[in-house]
Amino acid sequence: MNKEIFDMGRIDIAWCPGCGNYAILKTLKQALAELEILPANLVVVSGIGQAAKAPHYFKTNVFNGLHGRALGPAVAIKAANPSLVVIAESGDGDMYGEGGNHFLHTIRRNPDITNIVHNNMVYGLTKGQASPTSPIGFKTPVQVNGVFLEPFNPLAVAIALDASFVARAFAGDIEQTKEIIKKAITHKGYALVDIFQPCVTYNKLNTNQWFKDNTYYLDDSHDPHNRIEAFKKAIETYKLPLGIFYVNEDKKTFEENVGELTKSNKPLFEYELDMKKLSDSIERFKSVSK
């Protein structure tokens, strides 16, 4: 399948020239095309931000919700129709700041969705304030003397919560990022892909070159089923590892746990009205209220 099936044709794109978002969008479409996922079977859910605009440039089913709240609707869409492929895609501020609580509890819930985070370590859309992942010392018009808060470490947090799939990628490397995204989408259960994304306008510290110089790929010696090793990798700071940190295939998904719903894997809208069941329960209520 060709990735163009997801392209919108000629549209205005609100991103700055040179922004890492272009590469992520293209890579994601490529990954979906290679997995033969049809636009009709896909829903891309986002919050608010530059990253969260990505679905606007995507020819598929799109749900653009509240700032910080992409995960709730994504979980619900998957629960209502488990046959859909659901991707929740947003920025670092959206997912880890405003939506931080949802991030934690969605990992615990383990829905079979893919969570893609464009991590540019800054609030892009609101013009350059520090985000939860901004590094210590990062100066902005608000953090005039530099950030002094410990940066949020999404991978370490996800591994601590035994998330079922945890990976990090870099927007500048389309080939490897595509492979990581493909594995995340085919993985059964919640999959986090945190993608380093250069913001050419508001993050002059973590540039394309900076990411190249300060990252390396995990090699075959890394066992993604070893949670302790995965955690160790997640808290490395001298150079930041990329790749698949942790996988736990043994967890039941939210949809499986809900049971009744997934026994038939039948989406909610396909259920037919069972008149007998309905009238029985009405009768039951009547007798209770007597």
Partner: protein, 350 residues
């Protein structure tokens, strides 16, 4: 200095002790300005992880008796409503600035006045009110800041300042001065350390028999007092007017010019401009309605304040509405045209 920055400086001069914010357009200049100025003054500035954190930090700082504020724009203010309701229950002072944008939902960042209901009717759950101020010029905006803190402290409640993105970006000369005319009661409820005195408790949970009912009566008594004593409103060329515009904030600026244009064209128009949106200048409007006149409410919304104008007029005169939602800003000529058509219709009817 932009409106947003002038307002921030006015808050600093008014003795703001602690500012809490979260980025949102069109008020990011407030947060940026505060981050520098509050540090210079050795006061508290925090960029929060969300608006929920911001309003709860305001709640906490206020509980210690310090002057605390936050600013945001419509969607962020919606998120803060739970905290504002709790502060109303706990009777704590706070200043909240809403640089309004178009809604519902994410809407857009264009100037709007569609949060009037939210600001003036309480906004969150429960029987409570906030004082709501709707300044129309930058001078009035900076003058409203010390007033807002004083009102908040005097009545132990939230004072909400409503402006819009255009006012926030506007440049106008202003005179900033520390004005604190009011004699404020001592903060004998603040959590200041309990040495040599009894325990103090900040809460809005009242389970005891009749306790919540009592609190509500107490609040209502306070609100009636405010309605009687704290109304601020400007009347412009109202005395002999056949048509009275009612507008606040940015819409009032346009209306004032439209009134002048009408007068130049021989139409007797006037303007009633509420500065306090709650308490609403109902009496002023009711009095003006005694002689039959046409009231035209103009808002950058689909019609919210017009409901209060109708209640105030109490069917003594007709009340009409003109407005545009979500970023459409009518020009002075547009408003004048509305006035002109009304006089024309009136003549035909006569």
């Amino acid at each position: 200095m932009s409106g947003n920055e002038a307002m921030a400086e006015a808050a600093v001069l008014a003795g703001l002790d602690a500012y809490f914010g979260y980025p949102i357009t069109p008020q990011n200049e407030v947060t940026a300005y505060m981050s520098q100025r509050m540090a210079e003054e050795g006061r508290v500035f925090i960029q929060c992880e969300s608006e929920l954190a911001a309003i709860n930090m305001v709640f906490g700082a206020s509980a210690t008796g310090k002057r605390a504020m936050t600013s945001s724009s419509s969607p962020g203010i919606s998120l803060m409503q739970e905290g504002i309701s709790y502060m109303a229950g706990a009777q704590l002072p706070a200043v909240v600035v809403n640089v309004m944008r178009g809604g519902p939902g994410l809407g857009n960042i264009a100037p709007s006045q569609s949060d009037y209901f939210q600001a003036t009717k309480g906004g969150g759950h429960g029987d409570y009110r906030n004082i709501a101020l709707g300044p129309a010029t930058l001078q009035e905006l900076v003058d409203c800041m010390p007033l807002a803190f004083d009102l908040a402290d005097q009545y132990r409640m939230t004072v909400m300042l409503l402006i819009d993105g255009l006012t926030g970006q506007m440049m106008e000369p202003v005179i900033l001065e520390k004005k604190s005319g009011r004699k404020l009661p001592p903060k004998d409820w603040a959590l200041t350390g309990a040495e040599n005195r009894g325990q103090r408790i900040v809460r809005s949970l009242l389970l005891g028999n009749g306790a919540l009912e009592n609190l509500n009566y107490q609040l209502q008594k306070k609100y009636r007092h405010i309605e009687k004593n704290e109304v601020i409103c400007e009347q412009y060329k109202v005395d002999d007017a056949d048509i009275i515009l009612v507008a606040y904030g940015i819409a009032a600026r346009i209306s004032r010019a439209a009134v002048d244009m009408a007068r130049e064209n021989g139409i007797k128009a006037g303007l009633i401009r509420p500065v306090t949106l709650w308490p609403f200048p109902s009496e002023v409007i009711n009095k003006a309605a005694e002689n039959f006149r046409i009231f035209l409410t103009f808002e950058l919304s689909c019609g919210q304040m017009v409901e209060d104008v109708r209640l105030a007029v109490a069917a003594k005169s007709p009340v009409l509405f003109y407005g545009r939602p979500a970023g459409g800003i009518p020009t002075v000529e547009d408003v004048f045209e509305q006035i002109r058509q009304l006089t024309f219709k009136e003549k035909v009817e006569k």
